[in-house]
């Protein structure tokens, strides 16, 4: 259990079915640990990454009194100042990528994971246009048929380490994160943890609805 002074490694609260992944932007220090652990775990090609850290308003200070509270600042309509957001696939409840994929190669599984079926993907990149979080990657863009006709190659994205979760481990990025900025658990667990830490959610209502669906109400 988390106590006030012992938050380390409490990021992974539960795994497997219904587990969600969500960032605590207050905790992220842009160290790149998640990126490295993901690449190392899944042999992600050199120029690709399944998780990236988007740094916003780099070098800027937040509105007064809110420098370490980006989420709150956003909620109050103030500038959050420099904020690092770990971005990967959030395995959305209302996944727009699944909705637009013409070949049904993207599926929302019963257990909540959004998977891409490689053999069906035609590299049309519709998912890339639909995903609000920039999750879909196209590592094979320049090889084979994709190179000839200019299609995208097969899509690749964060799997939330489904295989690791199946055996009770957390996603590599979340396990590795030194500041527990990547939270894994049920929506209720994540929302409680964010409350405990007094961190905001950072994403707006539209994004929260996409990611959590009906469970978005947990975060209000």
């Amino acid at each position: 259990m988390s106590t006030g002074n012992e938050v380390m490694h409490d990021g992974v609260m539960s795994t497997g079915e219904d587990a969600r992944i969500f960032p605590d932007v207050e905790a992220c220090i842009d160290c790149g640990g998640c990126v490295v652990s993901c690449k190392r775990t899944w042999d992600v090609p050199r120029d690709e990454q399944r998780i990236s850290i988007a740094t916003m308003l780099e070098g800027q200070e937040a509105a007064s009194g809110l420098n370490a509270s980006s989420g709150k600042a956003i909620g109050q309509g103030e500038s959050p100042g420099e904020t690092a957001v770990p971005m990967q696939c959030y395995h959305c409840s209302n996944a727009p990528c699944v909705s637009v994929c013409p070949t049904d190669s993207l599926i929302s599984k019963e257990n909540g994971f959004v998977r891409v079926r490689d053999d069906l993907c035609i590299g049309c990149q519709y998912c890339l246009s639909a995903c609000p979080f920039g999750a879909p990657q196209f590592p094979d863009e320049d090889s084979g048929v994709a190179n000839l006709v200019g299609s995208g190659g097969t899509m690749d994205k964060c799997t939330m380490c489904e295989e690791r979760q199946d055996v009770g481990k957390g996603p590599a990025c979340a396990e590795e994160c030194a500041t527990d900025a990547i939270l894994v658990g049920t929506p209720a667990q994540i929302s409680d943890e964010l409350d405990n830490r007094d961190s905001g959610t950072f994403f707006n209502d539209v994004a929260m609805d996409i990611i959590f669906g009906d469970d978005a109400s947990e975060f209000q």
Binding site: V98, P102, L120, Y126
Partner: protein, 347 residues
């Protein structure tokens, strides 16, 4: 000249029609294999799986753009092109005819406009060769093809498009637009195939789009006088027409409805899930229906090839009819009518 001398188009136009047909059919087969991949899984497999299909779709897409550019250039630089172009532009007459026909359907006019009676045994001086219906078909197809080509090129690179418009929504809007246009176009093409393949007078294929007007004689009469009739009474209805056209008509309707329903029910492209009313492609009926639609397209492809075979036969027949004159240098035509038939002509 009667309307049954149905040579409407120039040689280039008839050739263009065949090439365009072939290209568009390929675009449809690949596009639909992508869009209805559950229902048309066999098509996807036949065309080399997921990556093969996209490759063919993109290559034929470029082919379409090339054809369209060629066509527009031709219209602009050749005088025949320019005069043909002005002929297919809608005129006041066409609007009148359209209005009268709508009134007729609503019971407010006594008869249809002469333009709409093209095939009812009227002669060319009574009925315009190119009715508003023909012009409408040309206009609709041209506009749709242009929009399909433009939206297709735009969504070629989704990242480029998103960057250009500074929003991903723009990219998705074009994607959806392209898909919906494809659905509408497919319905039009299926109807076009039915209309021109199953016409009672010309079944199984209306040859006017295949036999250039330069090869069509002025009229069917044996003497030089303007014939009294159009010759329609001399055509006999093919015995199989009724059955075939009923079956094919049913397939066309079922195909059109299924594709429409499929694109609304099948969540995803081109109708986003938020707007889709159904629950996925599990329905066997839908699978059968969409496949029937594809068979209609397949028949269209066969008819298009058959039209070209007919043109070649027609050319050969014209060749043979010219032979008696060459035989006049001492040889003897072998039939008393002066027209040897195919079996008689040696070397």
């Amino acid at each position: 000249m009667s309307n049954l001398d149905h040579g409407k188009f120039t040689r280039v136009t008839t050739l263009f029609h065949s090439l365009l047909g072939l290209d568009v059919f390929l675009l449809f087969f690949t596009g639909y294999a992508i869009m209805f991949n559950d229902e048309l899984w066999w098509m996807l497999t036949l065309m080399g799986g997921a990556s093969g299909v996209t490759a063919i779709h993109r290559i034929t897409g470029i082919g379409l753009v090339a054809l369209v550019v060629f066509w527009i250039t031709l219209q602009l630089i050749s005088s025949t092109g320019r005069s043909n172009f002005s002929k297919i532009l809608p005129a006041k007459d066409d609007i009148d005819a359209f209005i009268q026909d709508v009134q007729f359907v609503l019971g407010r006019a006594d008869e249809r406009h002469p333009s709409a009676r093209q095939f009812a045994g009227y002669k060319a001086d009574e009925v315009p060769l190119l009715s508003y219906i023909g012009k409408g078909v040309v206009a609709i197809f041209s506009i749709e093809l242009t929009l399909l080509a433009i939206s297709g090129l735009l969504i070629w690179s989704k990242t480029g498009l998103a960057a250009m418009f500074q929003t991903k929504a723009a990219a998705m809007a074009f994607v959806t637009f392209h898909g919906l246009l494809g659905v509408i176009m497919l319905m039009g093409v299926m109807f076009h195939i039915f209309e021109h393949g199953m016409h009672p007078a010309f079944y199984p294929v209306e040859t006017k789009a295949f036999i250039p007007r330069s090869m069509v004689p002025e009229h069917h009469g044996d003497d030089d006088e303007e014939p009294d009739t159009t010759g329609i009474e001399r055509l006999s209805l093919s015995p199989s027409w009724r059955t075939v056209s009923t079956v094919f008509g049913a397939m066309t309707v079922i195909g059109i409805v299924s594709v429409l329903v499929g694109s609304i029910f099948d969540e995803g492209y081109p109708v986003p899930r938020e707007l889709a009313i159904g629950g996925g492609p599990s329905s066997i009926l839908l699978t059968v229906g969409i496949n029937l639609g594809m068979i209609v397209l397949g028949v269209g492809l066969v008819l298009s090839m058959y039209g070209n075979v007919l043109r070649i036969r027609w050319e050969q027949q014209l060749e043979q009819e010219r032979e008696p004159t060459t035989a006049a240098d001492g040889g003897e035509p072998q039939t008393d009518g002066g027209r040897p038939d195919a079996g008689d002509s040696e070397n």
